[in-house]
């Protein structure tokens, strides 16, 4: 039928146009970064090393991490080591080099095992931010390298985390522990200091705001600039970008001061779920209402077709 042929031509041009300005153009604009399933074994770091010297250092480092991962960790023995961690990673901890050390309450559930090993071995290397430090000891968490001198004690403390600190976090806890010390989330009334309380008097609210600004200055000092508020980052970046960026920030933004946080797959899914809850809360409503609206117009078109058929019955 002639009309279908015309429709085919219109549809073909429309799709070509769509393909050109969306998938094709965006594919050209953004380099493709392959995800690696939230597995941390250093492959990407070694590939992405900026000099031969760095490459060797990374190869050696991750080689050792892989060796430690093979050791049998003893959680009971790791408890004493963990006590040392609590020196800094405690409730109401003070900022270290600008950033408040995160709570480790759900560290075993949120972070990858090899990443935790690497982190204790050499934090700057694990976070893939060694380019920021002349000596990785200068990293705010650098002193940990003097606390766990032998590989077995690292394996033990990681075993402890994986056993005793592995309760399932809520999505909000996951976000707070993994991201919330640097990133605010104003749509959830969260700052780098956590939830913003309700204040009756403006004076108290302003005093709190000053504390927040001071905390942000600290983070800014450490990171170079204030990390963005993540309220609607879920709509501002593609799912693929967020995933690969969190996995290894350097692959998407070379030279960024954002550290790799070492989330495992489940941990990332929790964080993503929280970003969606806050940044795109209408998603479930959209998905619920969508089919009904589409069904409505399918039926509408069907009825309209019958009406048209009837009106045009004796025109030809």
């Amino acid at each position: 039928m002639k009309e279908l042929k015309i429709l085919g031509v219109v549809a073909a041009f429309t799709l070509l146009l769509y393909w050109g300005v969306e998938p094709f153009a965006h594919g050209q604009m953004h380099k493709h970064v392959e995800g690696h399933g939230f597995v941390y074994d250093g492959t990407a770091d070694i590939e992405g090393a900026t000099s031969a010297e760095k490459k060797e250092a990374k190869k050696a480092f991750w080689g050792e991490v892989n060796e430690i991962a093979k050791l049998e960790g003893n959680a009971a023995a790791g408890e004493a080591g963990f006590a040392m961690c609590m020196g800094c990673h405690m409730d109401g901890a003070a900022a270290m080099g600008g950033v408040v050390p995160p709570s480790l309450d759900h560290a075993g559930a949120l972070y990858d095992k090899k990443y935790l090993i690497a982190l204790i071995k050499d934090p700057a290397m694990a976070m893939n931010t060694d380019h920021k430090f002349a000596d990785t000891m200068m990293h705010p968490m650098g002193p940990v390298m003097t606390m766990f001198m032998d590989n077995q004690s690292i394996a033990d403390v990681v075993a402890y985390l994986k056993e005793k600190k592995a309760a399932e976090p809520t999505t909000k806890e996951a976000f707070t522990e993994a991201c919330g010390r640097c990133h605010a989330m104003r749509y959830a009334k969260m700052t780098q200091l956590g939830d913003t309380p309700e204040f009756k008097y403006e004076k108290d609210a302003l005093a709190h705001q000053i504390k927040v600004l001071e905390a942000q200055d600290g983070v800014k000092g450490y990171m170079g600039k204030l990390p963005p508020d993540l309220s609607i980052i879920i709509r501002a970046r593609s799912a693929h970008f967020l995933e690969t960026f969190v996995e290894n920030p350097q692959t998407q933004l070379a030279g960024t001061s954002m550290p790799r946080v070492g989330l495992n797959k489940e941990g990332y899914e929790k964080v993503e779920a929280y970003l969606t809850e806050i940044g795109d809360p209408s998603k479930p409503k959209r998905e619920e209402l969508g089919p009904y609206v589409l069904l409505f117009f399918v039926v509408f078109s069907f009825l309209a077709f019958l009406w048209k058929k009837y009106q045009w019955r004796d025109l030809h």
């Binding site: 002639k2 969306e22 153009a25 749509y187 709509r235 009837y310 009106q311």
Partner: protein, 406 residues
């Protein structure tokens, strides 16, 4: 004074007709508004546009109730209040965002339909010109609306587009500042574009829509063959019950039934986009708040502006601006540059057929190139396409003049 029937029941048809002329009005506007029978679904695009405009108007009204035209509040009023707090606020925003994009797809289909069938010729010039005016005002409406969420794309689009008014070497920076009410797009800029978007331009659009409908009434709608129909004679035939022989149908209900069916199918696609595929119309980059100290790595206009943006891009500053300005108005001249005596589909018009498909393909290529980063081979393709665009317009009077009368 006219005679009034004392016994007519208030608000009965007769009573209303004596006061408002509703019977005549109904005939003129619907039941005896004659449309050619030989048409296809592309003739429904006008109604589809009207319906989309209606959706934009309704969704816009609900967005307006919580939107704050203030550079400090605008972003959160859209992305927090409307998107998360207002009941169904997200639905209005998605309809508005997707509608603003899709309306241009339909406008372009509508335009190229007109070009293909020669519906701008021989008495139909004003239809084309009023339609082109609508296109221009719609473009301004879309641009001013794009400023309102005050995200990164809003800000930088505002910056770049207002800078165009400096006129290249004329360096009319005073004019640019006057348009912005500030040195950069700021609060005054946002508020005045808000005014344009929700008041002045919609008023103009509504007026132009009325004009556009009005321009159709005397020359009548064109048809698939470009055939000249004696509408009065054909209407008599139809009214006499000889529907098969008559070449016309009444707008209501016969043509309308087809319109409504096409609209139904269109709405399936439209709401699929609203619910499941909206990123193309609501650019993720605009979900980052405006920051006057940081340009996003890739900025590009919405897709419907890309072809003319690409005409600006490959040339040096001044020629680029001139080319851009010509591209904005050249379509207005179509009825006068087409010198052919024929009103017929392009497929019957020899070289013009080639011209049509080349023009369509060229605009498509320009659109895609406009979005691609200006690097390497894309630059060359962009330049060639832009040159071809002008070459086609220069060639148009010659090829149409040489066209044989059908």
């Amino acid at each position: 004074m006219a005679k009034f029937d004392e016994n007519a029941r208030p608000f009965s048809e007769k009573w209303l007709d004596e006061r408002l002329g509703v019977v005549t009005l109904k005939k003129v506007l619907s039941t005896e508004y004659w449309i050619p029978k030989d048409i296809n679904f592309l003739w429904a695009m006008g109604m589809v546009l009207a319906a989309t405009f209606g959706l934009l108007l309704i969704s816009g009204i609900f967005l307006l109730m919580y939107y704050k035209p203030d550079s400090a509040l605008a972003f959160d009023s859209v992305n927090y209040t409307i998107m998360t707090e207002v009941g169904y606020g997200w639905l209005w925003r998605h309809i508005h965002g997707v509608g603003a994009s899709v309306v241009f797809l339909i406008i372009y289909i509508h335009m190229f339909t007109g070009i293909y069938y020669g519906s701008y010729k021989k008495g139909r010039e004003m239809i084309w010109i009023s339609g082109m005016l609508l296109f221009v005002v719609f473009s301004a409406e879309a641009f001013s609306g794009y400023m309102l969420p005050w995200g990164q794309m809003s800000y930088w689009a505002g910056m770049v587009i207002t800078n165009l008014f400096s006129g290249g070497s004329l360096e009319a920076y005073g004019l640019v500042e006057w348009i912005r009410g500030d040195y950069v797009p700021g609060d005054a800029f946002l508020t005045r574009f808000f005014m344009l978007h929700v008041l002045l331009l919609p008023l103009v659009i509504i007026g132009l829509i009325v004009l556009h409908f009005g321009t159709l009434r005397l020359p009548h709608v064109n048809n698939q063959k470009g055939e000249e129909i004696d509408f009065e004679e054909a209407a008599e035939l139809y009214k006499a019950g000889k529907k098969k022989e008559s070449k016309v149908i009444p707008f209501n209900p016969v043509f309308l039934s087809k319109d409504v069916f096409v609209m139904g199918v269109y709405f399936i696609l439209f709401f699929y986009l609203v619910f499941y595929h909206f990123d193309f119309a609501m650019d993720p980059v605009n979900f980052d708040p405006a920051d006057g100290l940081k340009t996003p790595p890739h900025i590009y206009p919405e897709w419907y502006f890309l072809w003319s943006y690409e005409i600006l891009r490959p040339f040096p500053k001044d020629p680029g601006l001139i080319a851009f300005a010509i591209a904005q108005v050249i379509f207005f001249l179509l009825p006068f540059l087409d010198r052919s005596p024929n009103v017929a589909p392009a497929s019957k018009r020899g070289l013009f057929n080639v011209w049509f498909w080349l023009m369509l393909a060229d605009v498509l290529v320009l659109t895609v190139m406009g979005k691609l980063p200006p690097e390497g081979v894309w630059n060359q393709i962009g330049l060639v396409s832009a040159l071809l665009f002008f070459a086609l317009w220069v060639a148009l009077p010659f090829i149409t003049k040489a066209e044989k009368k059908l």
